[in-house]
């Protein structure tokens, strides 16, 4: 049961908040009639609200602590991992999901399919950033710059040389990779917050260049009439084309998951994780810090480039306004909220963060408010993200047969 001291604490919090918000919530000066309105009932509401919220907060905190202890004792995996492990659940679920994915564009409207495609682009880009932030532990706030590189590669190559989508895709990816190397080289000497600030600066520089170098990028007015992806030279209607891009993105997402997983479970992936854990020890064990960091940075950038090309092809119009710092932050939120280092988490994060705002248009004014509040709450109660990463560790399997000799 709740103890008296808890009630007292919440009571004090409520009192404090009532006092703090008094000037803005209660007093209202009517400048026309030169009177002051006293809205005491509002003070009362603030008090009750604060009391209950503070109570709820501490209750959740306690529950979380108890839960952690229990999980530690029992050594249980998080729910998502347990569900995946359970074959009776995972196989039918995978089949169901597959059918749903294939049927999606035929069941739902063009508008819905389009939103889904956007979400899938964010899945791909988020998985790319996950390499940089989740695995290698490099906080990159200028990630959107590489997204812009990809998008502008396609738009400009198409505009000047008439290159098609499929030719531009690898070129855009390569450009983004090269940009990752070039930007990463000076930047990756820095650590933590410094790295975050400098990458943020680089991201803005790229956007400002695109905005101001009219001769090169057509400035703020952007580039229009970018062709949608071609399908063996066939003429597609708008709805066919949207369906096509949707499936293209599904394929791309699967491809990305495949590659990212493989990278994660490789010599390079191990080095990334070790680098995140302890840089000095990592170097002392013979790992080339610069090269390892650079490879993470550039590979992450590659996926952003790919995402950028598809984005340009899907919207058929791009301008610098699509590549602001907000975009970087949203992608970062996808990774952090979904679960750093966890592929499933990033997919989930992208779907939630991109789809929810679309369907909650009614609350669009409060979008940033809800966003911020969710993030803060998450960091307190689930710092590992929605789907906490349980890394597949290397196991030595020959242990059993060797035991008797020990």
């Amino acid at each position: 049961m709740f103890r008296f001291s808890e009630i007292k604490k919440s009571f004090l919090v409520a009192l404090w908040l009532m006092f703090l918000t008094f000037p803005i919530m209660v007093i209202r000066v009517n400048t026309i009639y030169k009177t002051i309105e006293w809205r005491w009932e509002r003070m009362f509401m603030v008090g009750i609200g604060a009391f209950f919220l503070s109570f709820l907060w501490r209750y959740l905190h306690k529950k979380k602590e108890a839960g952690e202890k229990k999980a530690e004792e029992a050594g249980t995996l998080p729910l998502a991992q347990r569900l995946i492990k359970n074959r009776q659940f995972s196989i039918p679920a995978a089949i169901g999901l597959g059918i749903f994915i294939i049927a999606f564009p035929f069941i739902f409207s063009m508008y819905q399919t389009n939103i889904m495609t956007t979400a899938l682009i964010y899945v791909v880009v988020g998985l790319g950033l996950n390499i940089v932030v989740g695995l290698a532990g490099l906080l990159d706030l200028g990630y959107v710059a590489f997204y812009a590189v990809g998008a502008y590669s396609y738009a400009l190559l198409n505009h000047h040389f008439g290159l098609g989508f499929w030719a531009a895709l690898p070129i855009g990816a390569t450009f983004a990779f090269l940009f990752g190397v070039i930007l990463g080289f000076p930047v990756l000497r820095l650590r933590g917050d410094y790295l975050a600030i400098v990458t943020l600066g680089f991201g803005e520089i790229i956007r400002l260049i695109l905005e101001n170098w009219n001769a090169f990028s057509f400035g703020p007015s952007g580039i229009a009439n970018i062709p949608r992806p071609g399908f063996f030279g066939m003429d597609l209607s708008l709805s066919q084309s949207i369906t096509y891009v949707y499936f293209l993105m599904i394929g791309m997402a699967i491809f990305t998951i495949f590659v990212v997983k493989r990278l994660q479970d490789s010599r390079l992936g191990r080095a990334w994780i070790a680098l995140r854990e302890d840089e000095v020890a990592c170097q002392a064990m013979g790992i080339d810090k610069t090269r390892t960091k650079l490879s993470a940075f550039a590979l992450g950038a590659t996926w952003a480039g790919i995402g950028g090309v598809v984005f340009a092809a899907k919207t058929t119009f791009i301008n610098p306004a699509s590549f602001t710092i907000w975009e970087s932050i949203i992608i970062l939120c996808i990774v952090v909220l979904g679960g750093m280092g966890s592929v499933l988490g990033v997919i989930f994060g992208a779907l939630v963060l991109i789809l929810l705002p679309e369907y909650l248009r009614a609350f669009s004014e409060y979008r940033m408010l809800i966003f911020g509040a969710t993030l803060v709450t998450m960091m307190v109660f689930r710092p590992g993200g929605i789907i906490t990463d349980v890394r597949k560790t290397y196991k030595f399997k020959g242990l059993k047969d060797k035991q008797p000799t020990v």
């Binding site: 490789s266 390079l268 080095a271 002392a284 020959g398």
Partner: protein, 262 residues
């Protein structure tokens, strides 16, 4: 005896502080050499300077791998120093806490492997073979150090003594010809220290790895070392076999009040 590590006139300044002052030191092939001195004498700084973590202000560092040519390693990055065959452990344990014991050792093998990005993505037969081998090799190292029962445990869950030994295992995995140990017995009880003593001798005798160690446990130092260097305030004040060092007045003065003949 052929030298394996040659440090000449090494000096290191931190701003106005001269942490190391003109120190020369050699380790011969198959030798166990100790570097001792009071707290803050500059022992760890010496390790950091010769392994490339800090750039030395003056002096030279060279390794001569058995059957190889002399390589000057001053100014090389730490990873290149390791690649040349000198590995180290840390005084304040620096394991990869959220990786398993096996994975920690696998990181040590990193510099002896070759798979790159294409290998990771395509998993060609060479990469698959290499990945299989690295697990086996790493397990082999753990067996040598006696940590195989912890193989799939997270490093952070290991008892303290085992963590210190895992540091040694991880360094051994890089195939060094000389191993630098920074206070390997710190925080160990008498039994663990005895086991460590045996382990270090075994590493030298069976693996043919030379050893330079920093240690405060005088009993361990005296029983293990072939030769001892003593530093105080960054200066070398004595060098020689254990018996001589024990009787050296300068050393006794530096350790005033501390028990040398424990």
């Amino acid at each position: 005896m052929k030298p394996i590590l040659e440090v000449t006139n090494l000096t290191k300044d931190f701003g106005g502080l001269r942490a190391l002052d003109d120190i020369s030191l050699t380790v011969g092939q198959g030798e166990i050499v100790a570097l001792i001195g009071p707290n803050g004498a500059g022992k760890t700084t010496f390790f950091n300077c010769i392994t490339g973590i800090y750039p030395p202000t003056k002096g030279d560092v060279a390794i001569i791998p058995p059957g190889g040519k002399k390589i000057f390693i001053k100014g090389l990055k730490p990873n290149h120093v390791t690649q040349q065959g000198m590995a180290r452990t840390f005084q304040n344990i620096r394991l990869f806490q959220n990786m398993t014991v096996l994975e920690n050792v696998m990181i040590g093998r990193h510099c002896r492997m070759s798979a790159g990005i294409p290998g990771a993505i395509f998993r060609n037969p060479a990469t698959v073979r290499e990945e299989k081998k690295v697990v086996e090799d790493s397990y082999g190292v753990l067996e040598k150090i006696g940590l195989e029962q912890f193989v799939n445990e997270y490093a952070k869950n290991l008892p303290y003594g085992a963590q210190r030994r895992l540091e040694i295992a991880r360094a051994m995995a890089t195939e060094p010809s000389i191993l630098l140990l920074d206070e390997p017995a710190a925080g160990m009880n008498a039994r663990e220290t005895k086991e460590l003593d045996d382990l270090i001798v075994r590493i030298r005798n069976q693996e043919k790895i030379s050893i330079l160690l920093i240690e405060h446990d005088m009993k361990l130092v005296m029983s293990l070392s072939d030769r001892i260097y003593v530093v105080d305030y960054g200066k070398k004040i004595a060098e020689g076999p254990p018996m001589e060092i024990k009787a050296n007045p300068a050393v006794i003065k530096a350790y005033l009040g501390e028990e040398l003949d424990a």
